[in-house]
């Protein structure tokens, strides 16, 4: 029997497949038994009520998706009263995704959701920080370190830092999160993007710009997961464009200890369940007894000082 269980710090998951925040909710229980998953990851919540962005909030681009949902949230009170009890009906660990406009607000919410029934907190530091003129905390190592330090003090639960691809300092941001006490890194969030209707000349999203997710994001997220796994000693959870078991295995080989599946669930609600089955079959076919045997096994030769981009042929 192949073993699928993995450890994310002190938290043991029965398999490495879990949903990405924002693409999962209690509603998915209509389609399959949620206890099949490695973990449950909630949609990001905020302290107070948030209505979200104007519509249209989604459009498709070349086999991927742009969204500008805008983190609608019913607030922490509603969450503790209704959502946490729902997930307590399951054995699967509950990971709560949180966001705040300022580091202090973030830390306060972190403390508020540190309640029995919650097994880890995923901090969405990829969203705009009001104190930093709208730049996401995770764009820079300094703001990442600052907010993660405050979050670390606010809870004793495992803290997962969800990083952004909208940075040029991936490894530095990852190390800053680790130094500030993150227990794991979720790599990564959506990439800032845009689409325009050439007939009306209007942006296709009501918020003008949005986040790219789906298969187009995968090579970028995979590269980041690889960089983060090399730059830190804490577990990396791969996230970005994972639609099939092959995608998931690529992330595991690159160094991720688990993966999150997002947009693929919109296309096939049972995508995660299929992936868990397929992962078992893949490992059996490879003659392996545990998924742990493939984590971080990328054949990348000697570690290089830096990345040299090949120039395009003339």
């Amino acid at each position: 029997m192949v073993r699928l269980d993995v450890d994310i710090g002190a938290l043991r998951l029965k398999n490495p497949i879990m949903p990405a925040s924002g693409t999962f909710s209690e509603d998915l229980a209509d389609v399959f038994d949620l206890d099949l998953l490695g973990a449950h990851v909630t949609k990001t919540i905020t302290r107070g009520f948030r209505d979200g962005n104007p519509t249209p909030r989604v459009c498709e681009v070349g086999g991927s998706m742009l969204n500008s949902i805008g983190i609608p949230s019913k607030g922490v009170g509603y969450f503790l009263e209704n959502v946490v009890p729902f997930y307590q009906g399951y054995k699967t660990p509950l990971v709560v995704s949180i966001s705040g406009n300022t580091a202090d607000e973030f830390a306060q919410l972190c403390a508020e959701v540190s309640v029995p029934g919650v097994d880890a907190i995923e901090v969405n530091i990829s969203c705009p920080n009001i104190e930093e003129d709208g730049k996401a905390f995770a764009i820079r190592p300094s703001s990442t370190f600052e907010v993660m330090t405050k979050l670390r003090r606010a809870t004793s639960l495992p803290l997962w830092a969800k990083l952004t691809p909208n940075t040029g300092e991936t490894s530095e941001v990852a190390r800053a999160a680790e130094e500030a006490g993150a227990d794991a890194l979720v790599v990564a969030n959506t990439i800032l993007s845009m689409a325009i209707d050439i007939r009306t000349r209007k942006p296709k999203l009501g918020n003008l710009m949005g986040g790219l997710s789906g298969p187009s994001l995968k090579p970028i997220a995979l590269r980041m997961a690889y960089q983060c796994a090399r730059a830190t000693k804490i577990p990396v959870i791969g996230c970005g464009g994972i639609s099939t078991v092959e995608d998931a295995v690529e992330f595991l080989i690159a160094g991720a200890s688990a993966v999150q599946v997002g947009t693929a669930t919109f296309i096939n609600p049972t995508a995660m369940v299929t992936m868990i089955d397929d992962l078992r079959h893949y490992l059996e076919a490879e003659g392996l007894s545990s998924v742990r045997e493939i984590i971080g096994t990328v054949e990348d030769g000697e570690q290089r000082e830096g990345i040299v981009f090949m120039e395009a042929a003339p």
Binding site: G22, V31, G52, T55, V58, S64, I69, V115, F266, N268
Partner: protein, 277 residues
Amino acid sequence: MSNIHHLTPPPRTAYELELEVLSNEAVNGEYRLLVLNAPRGLLERCRAGQFFHLLCPQMGGQAPYLRRPMSIYGFYPEREELHFLYKVTGEGTRALAMLRRGHGLNVLGPLGKPFTIKPEWEQLVLAARGVGLATLAPLALEARRLGKELTAICSARSESVLMSVDLFRHMGANVITLVDEDGSSSVDNVEAVLNTLIDGPGIDAFYTCGSNRLLKLLQKVGTRHGIPGQIALEQQMACGLGMCHCCVRPFRKDGGIVNLRVCREGPVFDIQEAVAW
């Protein structure tokens, strides 16, 4: 936390299934009827006003990527048939039109809140235009099953694209057809038709879908005469299940405006709560 009350996980209510295409034919110059072979158990779960989220085939390209919501036109457990009526308007419906007998189509559903018919409502009136009538067609079946009187006000650009008239008649509905060609579909005339019905057999409830003008008119007439109603709304969706919050629309509720998910809190809403677009 001591006040946490454990909830029992809900049972499955929606299914992701690959269904076989039985036929996919043009019914007039604009609309096509897609008939799928579906398990009886799935069809017995369907209700008028609900929808399926269709994974449109990718014919030689990447698009369409996201699923497309499609209201149920007909569900017949005894024949194991699920029907969708659609108009080819974009990449998703263009891809659907490519399906041939024997092809598979991945569907997710049934989804969303259905229409309701209260026991005390005897005289039902549905009014819609174009493909909006497709969404209301199963309501006629339900009305017949419940022994209700139904009047269907079917509006269209021309006689040639009037939808579902025969179906409504077959269900025993009193059908009134109105078209742009002779001006009979004007808002004023629809209002006159409604007033005639109110003065005659009376109207206990309205049902509509798809037309902003009809929505406003039914809200006005409903308010004036105290007639309740329901509307099935459409909105672009990603997940169809309530997870993504893409498909919100504004509604009047509790003295203010709130955003509700069309896929989850709808697609059927109280007609007076809907905000015209």
